[in-house]
């Protein structure tokens, strides 16, 4: 290290600024209280301050910023969904993602890689043609390609998958990308903090006071806050918060596990997903293979990892990439996924006046971080659901009007 640089580092005149301001105490009241300091909650705080001028806002986080599903997902960003509501919503998110690094003045390592969803059966190929047509209709780059295109993009792949589930084709989505997930939470958090939003970590919500169908205040581990508006953006803890306001929902919690390998030389550029083999894989900028599979098979409110998961995932991984047999698994972890029956989120207003939901993000929430913040900020500021999220309201279940996103949301079904 050059000496001049070291001298600069030790000079107290140039301290490295903190990402967030530390607030000793909560104020007695805020205009908006956001529960959950993950990407979604911080993004909503950011857009409330930046686009609606609402800065008397606090974000309450039980643990630390981005420590929940924001830091536990496999960082894939795409918009090739199945329903018109989904495609338009995620497409707006991808557009926001592309400018986010500049917006924050923080490198999110947003890397456009291209995304292949592999088809091993005729029926999978049929769903992909359907998805491609819906996508194209809404101007999203999406096409069905043959196995030779997959082989060219990922030459190490065994296109027959050990001979028993050959790849017949794939849905190719050129805008598919990956990004550094922690940085997204930090970027939104810092942006919100600079505009006056207070972020309180290590602050747990213990109860929500509702009077005459209206939100009155929030009881926390650091004292009482009176407020008229509360946003719940807590992923796997959503049912616990809903219990506090006595709102019923179809949300159920299953863990979703993931793992990374040791770093290896770059050999895989695109993101690959196989619904039939329950595998998705991409290679991070550091060379680690980031891998995931389907949901754990039963309800659990915890983040333990299992050997069953590693065994199942690696056996399928080796069918696709036999040469990986010598690569070691470095870490595995789990997050609590808030699942819905139709694989679409639950967003917007609720039967309790002033209580807003950004939930039901199951296994598909990371990519939606920017657009969720933006649309929820609009919903809170105007007390009217943003036009992009009307298909995701909690009412849709009571009205038997589901938004069936199962064919495009995740793997394993």
């Amino acid at each position: 290290m050059p000496w001049r640089l070291l001298r600069f580092a030790l000079n107290k005149k140039h301290p490295e600024p903190r990402m967030f301001t530390f607030h000793e105490k909560l104020k007695a009241s805020y205009d908006v209280v956001i529960i959950g300091g993950g990407g979604h909650g911080l993004s909503a705080a950011y857009y409330l301050a930046r686009e609606h001028g609402i800065t008397n806002v606090c974000v309450l986080e039980k643990g630390y910023i981005g420590g929940g599903n924001t830091g536990r997902n496999t960082t894939i960003i795409r918009s090739n969904y199945l329903t018109p509501e989904g495609v338009q919503f995620y497409d707006e998110s991808v557009r926001l993602w592309q400018d986010l690094s500049e917006d924050f003045d923080l490198n999110l390592f947003y890397a456009n890689r291209g995304h292949f969803t592999l088809a091993h059966t005729d029926s999978a190929l049929r769903t992909m043609r359907w998805r491609a047509e819906v996508n194209k209709h809404y101007g999203v780059a999406s096409e069905v390609v043959g196995p030779e295109v997959v082989k060219e993009a990922a030459p190490m792949i065994d296109i027959t998958c050990a001979g028993h589930s050959p790849i017949l084709g794939a849905l190719y989505h050129a805008p598919g990308s990956v990004a550094r997930h922690d940085a997204v939470a930090w970027g939104y958090g810092r942006g919100a903090d600079q505009r006056g939003v207070e972020i309180h970590q290590q602050t747990e919500v213990l109860g929500i006071d509702v009077e005459g169908g209206k939100v009155k205040g929030v009881r926390t581990s650091k004292g009482y806050i009176s407020t008229g508006k509360v946003l719940c953006a807590v992923a796997g803890s959503t049912p616990r918060i809903l219990k506090m306001v006595d709102v019923k929902s179809p949300i159920y919690i299953h863990p979703l596990q993931a793992m990374v390998s040791e770093p290896v030389k770059p050999w895989l550029d695109p993101i690959l997903v196989s619904g039939s083999l329950h595998v998705y894989i991409s290679q991070s900028a550091r060379g680690e293979l980031v891998m995931g599979a389907s949901l754990d098979p039963y309800e659990l409110h915890g983040t333990r990892s299992t050997l069953d998961f590693v065994e199942g995932l690696t056996s399928h991984m080796l069918e696709m990439f036999p040469f990986l047999s010598n690569v070691k698994v470095m870490r595995q972890w789990a997050g609590m996924a808030d699942m819905t029956p139709d694989f679409a989120p639950v967003m917007g207003k609720t039967p309790v006046d002033g209580f807003y939901l950004d939930s039901g993000w199951g296994t598909w929430g990371f990519k939606a971080t920017p657009v969720c913040g933006k649309t929820m900020a609009h919903t809170i500021a105007t007390d009217t659901a943003h036009p992009l999220i009307t298909g995701f309201s909690l009412d849709r279940f009571r009205n038997y009007a589901l938004t069936g996103e199962k064919g495009a949301a995740s793997v394993g079904h």
């Binding site: 959503t238 049912p239 616990r240 809903l242 219990k243 019923k248 929902s249 179809p250 949300i251 159920y252 919690i253 098979p297 039963y298 309800e299 659990l300 409110h301 915890g302 333990r304 069953d308 808030d338 029956p341 279940f397 009571r398 009205n399 038997y400």
Partner: protein, 85 residues
């Protein structure tokens, strides 16, 4: 949880079992209102706690009830269904 006790076959690896959700009383579809039926079909008790659940030991197709703590992942007891209690 790695081992579960089937009331018929005794302790077996949990991978042999299939989870089928909480035990819930079904309203009569002929008389229930649309709202009550939607509530039954879609809504779930998603919060953690001690729950009575349907499980099946798949190799022997044995359906039974497990009482499980869904936060700690501990099964307290398993037994055969004997009508609504």
């Amino acid at each position: 949880m790695k081992i579960m006790t089937c009331p018929l076959n005794g302790p077996r690896p949990v991978s042999e079992f299939h989870y089928w959700g909480e035990v819930r009383p079904m309203p009569n579809p002929a008389t229930a209102s649309d709202d009550a039926w939607a509530d039954y079909v879609f809504n779930r008790n998603g919060a953690p706690g001690l729950k009575k659940e349907w499980w099946c030991h798949t190799p022997s197709n044995t359906w039974f009830i497990a009482e499980r703590d869904t936060e700690k992942d501990v099964v307290l007891k398993t037994y055969f269904y004997e009508g609504d209690q």
